[in-house]
């Protein structure tokens, strides 16, 4: 086991963990994520390697306070439920802090409503919902057994991929499920006691009319999920959609329609009691996805599994994307610990793009990530983090976009709706020379 002690000092703030499951039933036509169908044997091999990786990092960061766990993909729910259970067990073993919620829960009432109301006594600054443990699931891959297992393993949030409630649109996207199958999954999740559900939607699909988008929104709102992610479709290189639609802008809804869809989303969701807290994310109060917020707020996160990215104490690195190499590396019975020293020295040799962020890069990230949040960035936090005023560093940009009504300035600096629509244009300007 080597010298794995005294890691307490390594990170000072809470850690979030992302776990990538690069498998799905069938590749969707728009998807450029690191994911593909694979046989059960491959899946098992992969999870085996993943467990080793978790173990390794547990040795390095065993004392870490865990804010959230997010199992994403691909479609994590394609895995046999035992595999997910093993992953969760290994996580708890490696990062014992995850279990604090369960311990608390054990002391109080078992009902999920109560669970959330438990007072955090030790670390009062922490949210009651922590650690948030999410998994992405897709209709057509979910069974009651799976959901039961998830629940037992401590998962407390499900993100369900629906994308559209329209039969034709689902077909066009290459989804494997119908709207009815989605409903089945959704109700099953509720029946199993999942009190924190997200539904993923995509707008601006080829040929989509405002009316059809409105229909999708109405159907979804009727279900009262806690969280809704509504993205506008991006045509990514290397996908079948790219082959069909790249350079054929006329086949896609025009900009005006696209923005009208966004506006409609915001409008309908706000009326229904959801708040937009990030460019494409809406939730009921207090149900923001904590895990996502970590990215925008530059919290520590550890990405495990194929192709996952990490940032720990301002060091960024990424896992390789070759499944074979990843599995071979982790199953090989070889000492991986680099034992001593800083985070970057503990990054396993198989990781790529290790990057120590300079102050300049950190300031840039602070802005272009923070401004994705509707509440924007805090003037005070900037100064506390970097020892200089945000106006000293970004005075020009702030004044310019304020004048163009693209952002507001107060204790926080935030993009307006108009600013959010063209955020790339603005955020690019926050990169320093």
């Amino acid at each position: 086991m080597g010298n794995h002690m005294k890691e307490k000092e390594l990170i000072n703030s809470p850690l979030s963990i992302y776990i990538h499951i690069p498998f799905c039933m069938k590749k969707c036509r728009y998807c450029d994520f690191l994911s593909a169908p694979a046989g059960e044997e491959t899946q098992e091999e992969y999870v085996h390697a993943l467990l080793k990786e978790i173990e390794y990092w547990g040795r390095m960061l065993s004392e870490a306070r865990i804010k959230s766990v997010y199992i994403g993909g691909g479609t994590p729910s394609v895995l046999r439920e035992e595999l997910i259970k093993e992953v969760l067990c290994k996580l708890k073993e490696a990062f014992p802090d995850i279990m604090r919620m369960e311990k608390k829960a054990a002391q109080g009432n078992k009902s999920h409503d109560r669970e959330l109301r438990i007072k955090e006594t030790e670390r009062t600054e922490w949210k009651l919902t922590e650690p948030e443990i999410s998994i992405e699931v897709n209709p057509g891959t979910v069974t009651e057994e799976k959901l039961k297992t998830y629940k037992q393993a401590g998962i407390n949030r499900l993100s369900i991929g629906l994308q559209s409630a329209d039969r034709e649109e689902l077909k066009l996207l290459g989804r494997i499920h119908t709207y009815e199958e989605f409903l089945e999954t959704y109700h099953m999740a509720r029946a199993q006691g999942f009190a924190n559900l997200n539904i993923d939607l995509i707008s601006a699909l080829p040929g989509q009319k405002l009316k059809s988008w409105q229909g999708t929104l109405e159907k979804v709102l009727a279900l009262k999920p806690e969280h809704i992610s509504a993205y506008s479709l991006m045509i990514e290189e290397g996908t079948p959609f790219y082959e069909t639609y790249s350079g054929h802008q006329e086949l896609l809804p025009d900009e005006e329609t696209d923005r009208a869809m966004y506006a409609l989303t915001k409008d309908m969701l706000q009326k229904a009691g959801y708040e937009r807290y990030e460019i494409s994310n809406y939730s009921r109060k207090g149900k923001e996805c904590l895990h996502n917020m970590v990215y925008w707020q530059r919290g520590n996160y550890l990405g495990l599994g194929l192709g996952s990215s990490s940032m720990i104490e301002n060091v960024r690195f990424r896992n390789i994307t070759s499944l074979k190499d990843y599995v071979n590396y982790w199953v090989a019975d070889k000492e991986k610990s680099r034992d001593i020293g800083s985070i970057s020295e503990k990054v396993p040799a198989i990781c790529e793009d290790i990057q120590h962020l300079s102050q300049k890069e950190r300031m840039e990230e602070f802005m272009f990530l923070g401004l994705r949040m509707i509440k924007g960035v805090s003037v005070k936090e900037f100064e506390a983090a970097f020892g200089k005023s945000i106006f000293q560093v970004y005075g020009r940009q702030i004044a310019k976009y304020k004048e163009q009504h693209a952002l507001t300035v107060g204790e926080r600096i935030a993009l307006t709706d108009r600013g959010l629509d063209v955020s790339n244009l603005i955020l690019a300007d926050f990169l320093l020379e």
Binding site: Y70, Y295, D421, N424
Partner: protein, 604 residues
């Protein structure tokens, strides 16, 4: 070198239409005479500058001395003077020709005579050169050597029946060319004991030797220690070294005497002292009168050049200074633009010259430039009698102070196959051309003569000509003089702000059309902003055309890939990179290339 028999010297050049194979033939001659082995041969030996090789054109005149052992058993010295092949450099061509006694006319066996063939051959004949033709590219399937021979005899009126049929590219028929050089080009004349009289046909600056004067000795002798006087500029110096031209190198010799071609160095620091066309004589024992034909080189085309990065202004100044050491026809003076900051107003022989200088600045001096629309020199006659030579549209006086304006006019010759005559005439008409006449060269080809305002041809005339004739038209022109014209200044307003660097002078009848096209072009070039941007063209404060760049509606990365921030940042960086090459005017960012867009208004 002393005591070379004048009768064994041949000073000649090669004239041709562009792409007819002039430089390739020069290469072959050098190769055949054994100056370089074919292994050492790099295509186009004479084109020294990297840029010349790339563009396949000759910018500066190059000269090489070679020795040929002829079939008569005698050794001959050939001085081959490679002349620039572009109309921009006509004056340099004429001086190079004046240094020769004869010329080889290269004509493409497939294309026959073209406009520059004629222009160049007449120029050679004007200089009393003996010209013999060579038919090149005879190995092309479309070659028609007999037809081309006839054409040469009919159109130019020189004998062509025994013209060598060659392929310079494949080395066919080169021997015959060399023999005809001996036989048909006269030996030089001139008295080596007379007072020195030498023609400067080029010069270049060398950081060790100072200016190196390329000259043809017409009379007298020059050697180390000779006190020399440049008769037009009045510059005096003492000769440090004389010599002749090896391939790519200078070979020192004892003296240069009448009939010879070579170089002189005299620790001269500035090429301006050694202008092309000037006469070098002995300062102590000057010749009675200079050689004829000298004229001061005049810039024809002006534009503003600005560093893309304002902090690079001193670098640009240094670079221009250095280029000018080598290029007496480049003029520049500092100017300031509200839109572009500090820069220079630069004068050029023509658009090609401008492009070459621009490219050299960017390549050899690593500068990013913004170039404003090129313009010509207008003569502004003010009511108070004063006459201004206007090179920068921004300096145009208030219309109330202007009596009238004049613009430069050129006489142009356009050679075109008959099917395109209509299209070309239409083009010339659009460009305010005055039709002078037309002659049929042969059944299917005609020579059109027009008078055209220079400002109508400096932008894109050549491109338009090519595209409207499917590449079949060729073109040549010379400055005729100034004529009164109704000119106005067209201003461009972007987001209601006048952008001085986009203003240009235009004939009042073209103002609306140009203004409209300019607005359209700028609309394409200016990226969408957060706000709507009106683009207006105005004459004398009156808006005559308008376009609008709509506000950006959407530019958002909806989905951000989990923790992969690097990917997100790369996207933003790419976006930012695009902005770097932009100029901020008010709160509008204008891409640098928009300032050049006036160049490409004819997109037919």
């Amino acid at each position: 070198m002393a005591g070379i028999d004048q009768s064994k010297i041949r000073n000649f050049c090669i004239v041709a239409h562009i792409d007819h194979g002039k430089s390739t033939l020069a290469d072959r001659i050098i190769e055949k005479t054994g100056l370089l082995t074919s292994r050492e041969m790099q295509a186009q030996v004479l084109d020294n500058m990297e840029l010349e090789r790339e563009r396949g054109i000759t910018i500066k005149a190059q000269t090489v001395r070679i020795v040929y052992k002829a079939k008569d058993g005698e050794e001959y010295i050939f001085n081959l003077i490679d002349t620039p092949g572009h109309v921009d450099f006509n004056y340099e061509v004429s001086r190079s020709l004046a240094a020769c006694d004869g010329a080889i006319l290269v004509v493409d066996a497939a294309q026959g005579i073209e406009a520059q063939t004629l222009a160049n051959v007449y120029l050679a004949l004007d200089h009393d050169l003996d010209v013999f033709p060579v038919i090149n590219k005879i190995d092309l399937p479309s070659a028609e050597p007999e037809r081309v021979k006839e054409e040469i005899e009919d159109v130019i009126g020189i004998e062509a029946h025994d013209a060598p049929l060659i392929s310079a590219k494949n080395g066919i028929g080169i021997e015959e060319v060399l023999e005809q050089i001996v036989a048909k080009i006269p030996a030089p004349e001139g008295n080596p004991d007379a007072p020195l009289k030498a023609l400067i046909f080029d010069s270049l600056y060398d950081s060790y030797k100072g200016v190196i004067i390329f000259c043809r000795i017409k009379e007298g002798t020059v050697k180390k220690g000779t006190p020399i006087l440049m008769m037009a500029t009045g510059a005096k110096a003492e000769v440090v070294e004389v010599g002749y031209f090896g391939a790519g190198q200078f070979l020192e010799c004892e003296e240069l005497s009448a009939g010879m071609v070579g170089y002189i160095t005299a620790s001269i620091k500035n090429v301006k002292d050694t202008e092309v066309g000037d006469t070098v004589t002995n300062a102590k024992e000057p010749c009675k009168e200079p050689l004829p034909g000298y004229k001061k080189v005049q810039s024809m085309v002006y534009c503003g050049m600005y560093p893309a990065d304002g902090a690079k202004y001193p670098d640009l100044r240094d670079a221009l200074e250095k280029l000018q050491l080598n290029d007496a026809s480049l003029h520049y003076e500092p100017e300031t633009s509200i839109a572009l900051g500090f820069g220079f107003r630069c004068g050029f022989l023509g658009l090609l010259h401008l492009e070459i200088i621009q490219e050299r600045l960017e390549r050899e001096y690593n500068l990013d430039l913004v170039t404003t629309a090129p313009g010509v020199i207008y003569k502004v006659h003010k009511s108070n009698g004063e006459v201004i030579e206007l090179t920068n549209p921004s300096n145009l006086p208030d219309p109330s102070e202007i009596e009238y304006m004049e613009e430069p006019i050129v006489s142009a010759e356009i050679m075109v196959t008959s099917e395109f005559i209509g299209a070309i005439m239409e083009l010339c008409q659009e460009r305010r051309g005055v039709y002078l006449g037309m002659e049929y060269m042969e059944e299917k080809r005609a020579l059109l003569r027009y008078e055209l305002p220079l400002n109508e041809i400096i932008y894109d005339f050549f491109d338009a000509l090519k595209s409207r004739s499917r590449g079949y038209a060729s073109f040549d022109y010379e400055l005729k003089g100034y004529e009164q014209s109704e000119l106005v200044k067209l201003d461009m307003l972007i987001n209601k702000e006048e952008v001085d660097a986009l203003s240009f002078i235009v004939h009042k009848d073209s103002a609306y059309d140009r203004g409209r096209k300019m607005c359209e072009k700028l609309k394409e070039e200016i990226p969408r902003h957060l706000f709507e941007i009106p683009i207006q063209a105005a004459v004398g404060g009156k808006v005559i055309a308008r376009e609008t760049v709509k506000a950006m509606r959407k530019d958002v990365l909806a989905k951000c890939y989990g923790g992969d921030i690097t990917r997100k940042k790369k996207l933003l960086e790419k976006q930012k990179e695009g902005k770097k090459r932009m100029r901020q005017i008010g709160n509008v960012e204008i891409p640098q290339q928009a300032f050049m867009s006036v160049l490409k208004l004819d997109d037919k």
